[in-house]
Symmetry: C2
Subunit: 317 residues, 2 copies
């Protein structure tokens, strides 16, 4: 597979299991190139078959180790799985201690597992924009299971929610007493809660805190389970995967899956419009004109609002 | 003064002290109308004479009472002053308890005080965009002192910083132990810190916390003072106004004022470009076209990224 291969040939190869072709498509899509956009449009009709599970939580909560355990659970059933790591500190992104990296590498030789780190794409805003595009590619080429690991800071926990069918929130007894989870906005977005490192003290307290706060949410049709896990030994990981399957059945049989996916795709649409406008502003401002206008504003020869109107009019020209 | 008066007649009247003419100009500018934009451009050469003091802090910190006290201090010197209230819960905006409202009304009969509430303009994002325009008008018609009161939530504390020559951060012993102030990003933007309601317990602790955290910032040329105040009795309010005057002298004699004002006017310029692009998108999305595209995205007949490109292309048309 050469980099000069036609888009159709690339897609056919990737769908047939050629991992180098897949990596090439993902790169084109990640970059936001015109070729990538065309590939996304071509793949669109074949998307919708994958189940996307998002894992979010603070750095150090053990998301990667749990993700690795879930990969093992999926593979035990013979199912192919793709992992997208958006957390720059994830071992999947190469940014972790040796022991963790070795644990992840057990999957590297398994052709049924495709791992893509997005950490190299820089700032989290850019990652958040690129992630749903990459997930759409993996869905389109036929992965039945996709795991997306994101670091839960700032807006990202919200992004993972709009990107995933099932969202797993991972906390530790040390980090995540319930109040912290609530403050971070994670209480509303979790479909399954995992208290990891359950071999540490205070695990029962954290589980109890979370359950009480979820109770305050009232009588919901889906009551998110709170599961104690020791991801490093694999204890409880099976139960997490079973909870994801339960949630999947709930969304599918209740008919909520369709509306959830519609909301998700509309969010991606609006994010793409915003990103396009930002890019356009940057382009206009980088023009000689934009800089000249800014200099005039700085010099005080024109008011900022007249100046802005001029720049916007030039952007139309 | 009728609403059909020419722009030049309006400006002449407002500059001569006609408050109804001024209110009319402020409304036109606030609305973002073409007439308002022209008035702003005409006023621009006469701006730069006002000193703008921003007051920010959480709701209930006592910003309005302190603002009222500062108005009294300014008026004692015979100087005219304009107050812009961006906080919807401010007594200046009519959204407060009776006692507070009465306190503010002592200024209502004073022709040397102009009070403008912007709360009726709705959401804070819109207020943040309109505030620097209104401040420019008040500056342009000749107010030597402008006080801007904003509620310190979300991005607003940053906005008040880019809008003010001197920024006063108001906290209470209850709300604002230093850590909260740091979390809210207020530590970096304050030129003067006020611990209000200093008749309550723990005031010394809060003052100490703030001073320690400001020390951590290292040896800065301007070290923000931390002042204990009881705004309701007026205790310490004089000292706050003196601190503002000290900061004013520091900025003026150090030559930092020019670069600070340039940064502020460039920020207003960039914000206006962004606002223009947002408005353009909103317009396109509201068109039958934009809605149709969104419906196609929801129906799954087009992928969100192709759809976004279509909307952006139509925005150019």
């Amino acid at each position: 597979m050469t980099s000069a291969a036609s888009p159709d040939a690339l897609l056919a190869a990737a769908t047939a299991g050629d991992r180098r072709a897949l990596a090439r498509i993902v790169s084109l899509v990640e970059e936001g190139s015109a070729a990538g956009d065309e590939l996304l449009a071509t793949l669109h009709p074949t998307t919708g078959g994958a189940w996307t599970t998002g894992l979010t939580g603070a750095p150090g909560a053990g998301k990667s180790t749990l993700t690795s355990g879930l990969v093992t659970a999926v593979r035990a059933a013979g199912t192919e799985v793709a992992v997208v790591a958006v957390d720059p500190s994830s071992p999947f992104s190469g940014g972790a201690v040796l022991g963790d990296r070795i644990r992840m590498q057990q999957h590297a030789a398994d052709h049924g597992v495709y791992i893509r780190s997005m950490a190299s794409r820089g700032h989290l805003g850019g990652l958040a924009a690129a992630t749903p595009r990459v997930v759409a590619v993996l869905d389109g080429v036929g992965f039945p299971e996709i795991l997306v690991e994101t670091v839960g800071v700032g807006q990202d926990e919200v992004d993972v929610a709009t990107n995933a069918d099932t969202t797993v929130v991972v906390v530790t007894p040390g980090w995540g007493d319930g109040v912290q989870v609530a403050k971070a906005g994670l209480l509303e977005i979790g479909d399954v809660f995992v208290v990891n490192k359950a071999d540490r003290p205070a695990v029962g307290e954290t589980v109890g805190d979370l359950e009480r706060m979820l109770e305050m949410g009232g009588d919901l049709p889906w009551r998110p389970p709170v599961l104690a896990v020791v991801a490093t030994t694999g204890e409880g990981v099976e139960a997490v995967w079973e909870a994801v399957q339960l949630h999947r059945r709930y969304l599918t049989t209740s008919g909520l899956l369709a509306s959830r996916r519609t909301a998700r795709i509309l969010a991606a649409f609006e994010a793409a419009v915003r990103a396009g406008l930002r890019e356009r502003t940057r382009r206009v401002m980088q023009d000689g004109d934009g800089e000249g206008v800014a200099a005039a504003v700085a010099a005080g020869t024109v008011d900022p609002w007249t100046a802005a109107r001029r720049v916007l009019q030039r952007a139309d020209g």
